[in-house]
């Protein structure tokens, strides 16, 4: 076979253009980019046996992250996927990301073994029982609704199945639990009202709705006597920022593919007064003021900030420990919440109805939850996690 066509001038032009492209990137890497500093720091900070293997991997990762116009290239990739009308987009971290029938970007969760999660929850339950502290596990939803066909045909999703098995296991162990999913999805809200299309989190208004459902449950089952009227929507101010947010999933597929989310800031319209203490990396920081001053982190709401700024984090997270004291309710309850990122707006809103709430993030908190609870002595210990956290050792503590 002769691959060659007539040797043509166009090949020379194409070769020159391609080499210019390659060498301009090479020169950028060599002279203009700071990636090497990061790479050098990452590699030489480590002291292990597989130095060369790690160094080569770090080198490749540093380059991957530092390619000039990386975000523009991801946008072009997203545009190409949109033109092809693709609903499955390959992704290095998730394997694939999917566009749901509601045009939301979602990942899927594989089948997970839940035995170690059950053991971890049983352990903490037993330890808290010994301290006479009530404990409840709350199953928060993920954007893929149980029983609803949102994914492309035959895509396997086990997040809800994993959670179902976990809750069944908890029931068999007589551990209190609340499946928030059913009440949450039965409110008649659309998928895009419940969850950001470009992010995996629930929207701030739907998190407020979830908080009111949770309060109803807690009052019913634990007689906490939290004022449910506080959580009615007429008690809040809703400020909408259109096309304001490109969430973590949108960043992976590009705005051209996912579009942008609007962001609704929800703040109480009644008077509030707080002291918020945040513990990270061995030191405490304190803020005082009303809900907006003490709880919200306004840098995440800056309209000049890039669209990929994590607007959801305006509700103050993720911290090893956050303690919120509500000075307007002096005789109220005290809650200890163990949570993943779905807990951010929940503890922010729940704090409106209690005297004090403290949230621990087990991804950062290395101590014993039981020891902490013993010292803190709350009226209730609440675990709240979304379905994707199930089966991943998310509930283990010392």
């Amino acid at each position: 076979m002769k691959w060659d066509m007539h040797q043509a001038g166009w090949e020379k032009v194409a070769a020159i253009m391609a080499l210019l492209f390659v060498f301009s990137f090479t020169l950028y890497f060599v002279f203009f980019d700071q990636w090497f500093v990061q790479f050098y720091g990452d590699v030489f900070a480590q002291n292990n046996e597989n130095f060369i293997e790690n160094a080569t991997r770090e080198f490749e990762e540093a380059i991957q992250e530092s390619v000039p116009w990386r975000l523009d290239m991801i946008e072009i990739h997203g545009l190409l996927q949109r033109w092809q009308d693709k609903r499955v987009v390959p992704d290095v971290n998730y394997g694939s990301l999917f566009k749901t029938s509601d045009k939301q970007i979602a990942f899927t969760t594989p089948y997970m073994e839940i035995e170690s999660d059950l053991k971890a929850l049983e352990k903490i339950h037993t330890e808290l029982q010994a301290l006479n502290l009530p404990f409840v596990y709350v199953q928060a939803p993920y954007k893929l609704e149980p029983g609803k066909q949102q994914l492309p045909y035959n895509i396997q999703e086990y997040g809800n199945d994993n959670a179902d098995r976990l809750l069944k296991g908890l029931q068999e162990l007589n551990i209190d639990n609340y499946d928030l999913r059913e009440d949450f999805f039965n409110q008649g809200w659309t998928a895009n009202e419940l969850f950001y299309k470009t992010d995996h989190h629930w929207t701030i208004p739907s998190a407020l709705m979830a908080t009111s459902l949770l309060v109803e449950f807690l009052n019913q089952d634990y007689a906490l006597k939290i004022d449910e009227a506080i959580f009615e929507t007429n008690q809040f101010h809703f400020e909408e920022f259109p096309d304001f947010f490109l969430g973590s999933l949108g960043k992976r597929v590009g705005e051209q593919y996912s579009g942008l989310d609007s962001f609704t800031l929800v703040t109480p319209s009644f008077t509030t007064e707080y002291t918020v203490s945040i513990y990270n990396y061995g030191s405490w920081q304190e803020k005082q003021g009303d809900f907006s001053e003490a709880i919200l982190v306004h840098e995440y709401l800056d309209s000049e900030a890039p669209k990929e700024t994590n607007r959801y984090a305006a509700y103050n997270g993720d911290h090893e420990i956050i303690r919120i004291k509500n000075h307007t309710i002096t005789e109220g309850k005290k809650i200890l919440m163990i949570k993943d990122s779905y807990g951010l707006p929940i503890y922010s809103f729940l704090s409106l109805g209690v005297s004090e709430i403290t949230a621990l993030d087990l991804r950062l908190f290395n101590g014993s939850v039981a020891d902490y609870a013993k010292e803190y002595n709350p009226d209730l210990v609440l675990y709240i996690f979304n379905t994707d956290a199930v089966g991943r050792g998310s509930f283990e503590s010392d």
């Binding site: 253009m17 391609a18 293997e53 092809q84 390959p90 045909y153």
Partner: protein, 477 residues
Amino acid sequence: MLFSSLVFLFFFMPFTLVGYYALRPWRSLQNYFLFFVSLFFYGWGEPEFVLVLLVSITCNWFFGLSLQRNAQSKVIRRVILLATLVLNLGIMYYFKYHTFTLTVLSQWVNVSHIPRIALPIGISFFTFQALSYVLDVFMGKVEAQKNPLDVGLYVALFPQLIAGPILRYETIAQQIHHRKETVADFSHGVVRFIVGLSKKVLLANQFALVSEEAVRLAQKNAISSSAAWVGAIAYGFQILFDFSGYSDMAIGLGKMFGFHFPENFDSPYISKSVSEFWRRWHISLGSWFREYVYFPLGGSRVTNQGRLYFNLLVVWALTGIWHGANWTFILWGLFYFVLISLEKAIGFEKLQQREDWIGRFFSAIGHGYTLIMVLIGWVVFRASTLLEASQYLQTMFHLGLLKGLQPDALRLLGENRIFFVIAFLACLPWLQWRRSCIRAYQGIKGVVLTLAIVAMFFISIVYLVKGSYNPFIYFNF
């Protein structure tokens, strides 16, 4: 290191090109430079296996030289040849087949320990190249190289080091010192590299997702018959564009450094018989087995038909085993032995050449029959166990296929419709059809071709930056 990686494209390739052409007045220095960067290329990520490569190079250089110095003694030459085979095949056996052999043996005898041995990338490729050097010296086709670095360059030259094409020494010996770099070759090499990169990144990687999903669903018994066929076809496209893309990149890179490597693929999916398919698929491996196994056994010029089929059996069993230590590869090789033997027995290709209705009939069915057989072969080749292969084939040939395209097949096809169309077109030998396409080709302006190549390159980079799935099937061999 992968050709389809940013570190290769933006670091290794430009620095190697600059270094190589900076040494342009000194051919030997250029060769040493290429040898050492090839070792760096091979050792990237897994440096310990460079030692295996160096042992292979040093021993084969020594064997080649010893053969030449003992040209008069048949006995010594045969001892050296035996030592060559034992060493090369011994290294390959240890890394590639030892664990498998012990696992098989453990079913009948007590094996105390089955080690898990990491496989040096491309060991089958560089071992066959090294063997080719000593065998060519033994057969008197070439002179032995006095300088071990020249042998090293032949074995380790990075464009073809880990996935071929497998260069027979006699085809490249002259080029080590007497190649000529030209602007025309260089620019053609760049274009060829981009074509290969695009095949790999834009086609093979996309089909890999389809075929892997089909296999995953089949393992859960959650796939329809028609979707299983779509998955098998996707794997057929994946392996073609993965491997031929790599060969294109290797040939293109070779040209940038003045080397002319033989072609490895010739539009294999247009074949009208399985025999023809194997003349068009992985040509360098077929050529190696033909030259060093089939012909020495007597080839097809034997008086005894039984001997012919024995020779074929040996070649196809070895072809299967060469691909990997798994019963699936052995079955795959034997499957082709049976098909090619049957074709020879009935004179299938001769029947196709007849000009009567028989010729027309066999020509008409030849293409469909070949593609179906090749797809069945790929299912076995792709499977991790014989049971998995059997279950997948049962799904493919289940009567459910009569129900037409099921929703899962429609989704896999619909999601990737553009890739399926491009892949189908890319399988056709457009450049060989020049006579019929010449008018159309002349009508295409150079600027269109230039923009097409640059666009393909840019889009490939976009996909690499996005960090899509990026495996290389033949690295495992």
